[in-house]
């Protein structure tokens, strides 16, 4: 279970001040984090992953403390073992699908085998030697998901992963995400502002508005 309890103040000369002040719990299963753009969804994922640091509060995943301002704990991104799927996928453009997936696998002797397994799981063996610029949006999405899962994360964070694919592919991919979640049995946090995606994945829902939780 992931418990998040944090505050972060953003000050920027160009934009107004913004205070993120949230606390919520996420158990295994898919939790949809909804809210309009600018509500702080992506920021929350970045805080959980360790890309950003909260001003105060705590983030705990099961028995591991990611961050605790009172105890002065702040694990690095690398130590948190979080699977992150970026909105723009962020696939390494100079590596093939297989190399992308194998990149984060720690056990060198299992690299090849595990990468193959992930390729098969997402039905993308045929693109294993292709670089991202020769893949469709749906294929890139599957590689991004496979890469995030290949390193055996304890939690997966998905930042509007389907905003760039067409409706038909989106439905298929939602099913695949759901399936992947069931197999790994770890919590997934899925950020979206799309009501239909949220309904399809509906489990738990956290709605965010202006840096605060509505529901």
């Amino acid at each position: 279970m992931l418990t998040v309890n944090l505050k972060k103040q953003f000050k920027n000369k160009k934009t107004a001040e913004f205070l993120l002040d949230v606390s919520f719990e996420v158990s295994s299963g898919i939790t949809v984090l909804m809210g309009a753009s600018g509500a702080g969804k992506t920021t929350i994922l970045r805080l959980i992953a360790g890309i950003l640091t909260p001003d105060e509060g705590s983030i705990n995943l099961d028995s591991t403390t990611f961050f605790d301002s009172a105890k002065n704990i702040n694990l690095s991104i690398q130590e948190r073992n979080v699977g992150f799927v970026f909105q723009d996928y962020a696939l390494f453009p100079h590596l093939t699908a297989k190399q992308n997936i194998a990149y984060g696998i720690k056990d060198k002797s299992l690299k090849n085998e595990k990468a193959r397994e992930m390729l098969a799981l997402f039905h993308i063996e045929h693109i294993s030697e292709r670089t991202p610029n020769k893949m469709s949006g749906g294929e890139q999405q599957r590689v991004a998901l496979a890469r995030a899962l290949a390193s055996n994360p304890k939690i997966v964070l998905l930042d509007e992963p389907l905003s760039a694919v067409d409706v038909e592919t989106r439905t298929k991919l939602l099913d695949e995400i759901e399936e992947a979640r069931k197999r790994t049995n770890i919590p997934f946090i899925y950020v979206t502002h799309n009501e239909k995606e949220a309904e399809r994945l509906e489990r738990n829902r956290v709605i965010l508005q202006n840096g605060r939780i509505l529901k």
Partner: protein
Amino acid sequence: MIWDALKLSLLIVSAATIIVGVSGLAFAYLLAKFDFKGKELLDAVLTMPLVLPPTVTGYYLIILLGRNGIIGGFIYEFTGWTIVFTWQGAVIAATVVSLPLMIKAARASIESVNPNYEIASYTLGKSKIETFLRITLPLAKRGIFAGLVLSFARALGEFGATLMIAGNIPGKTQTMPLAIYEAVASGDDRRAQMLALILTAISIAAVYFTNKISRSRIYG
């Protein structure tokens, strides 16, 4: 005489290019990825040789590294050796004037790498160093190569600062540009012509090579 100058030039320029490559990359990464106090000042100081007359750069090098210089004084006191009028001095001059070209090009190409690639690498458990070597460097290599070739060309043409700190000693510190100057001054037109042609050919090759790299596609 011609071959002495050519050999010496190539030795000095090779050494300078290696130093520029390594230190330029380190400075470029530092300036591209970190915010620290005095960053803009450091950038300005490193860029100075690009805009200063090379003789002024050379003058500062003497102040710094000369026998009575701030750093050179120490070296002379402990070793009895001074870098003034040596080929190593010419390497320092060529390094200092060509370093800004490397830093500018490498910094721009490092900054143009989508930061999400680096963050993705961190989330996959990779350290900053491994991420730099496996992600940032391969993605920025075009600009880094271009900066390296431009630095090479600039170092090859270096005249003013080299003359100030290393002098113009045939066979010891007389590089090609200095040899051309002396040939013209002493009325040896044939030698001047030969040297100028060789330098021109190397420079054209360098620019051609740079353009080729910057136009080539890396992926797919």
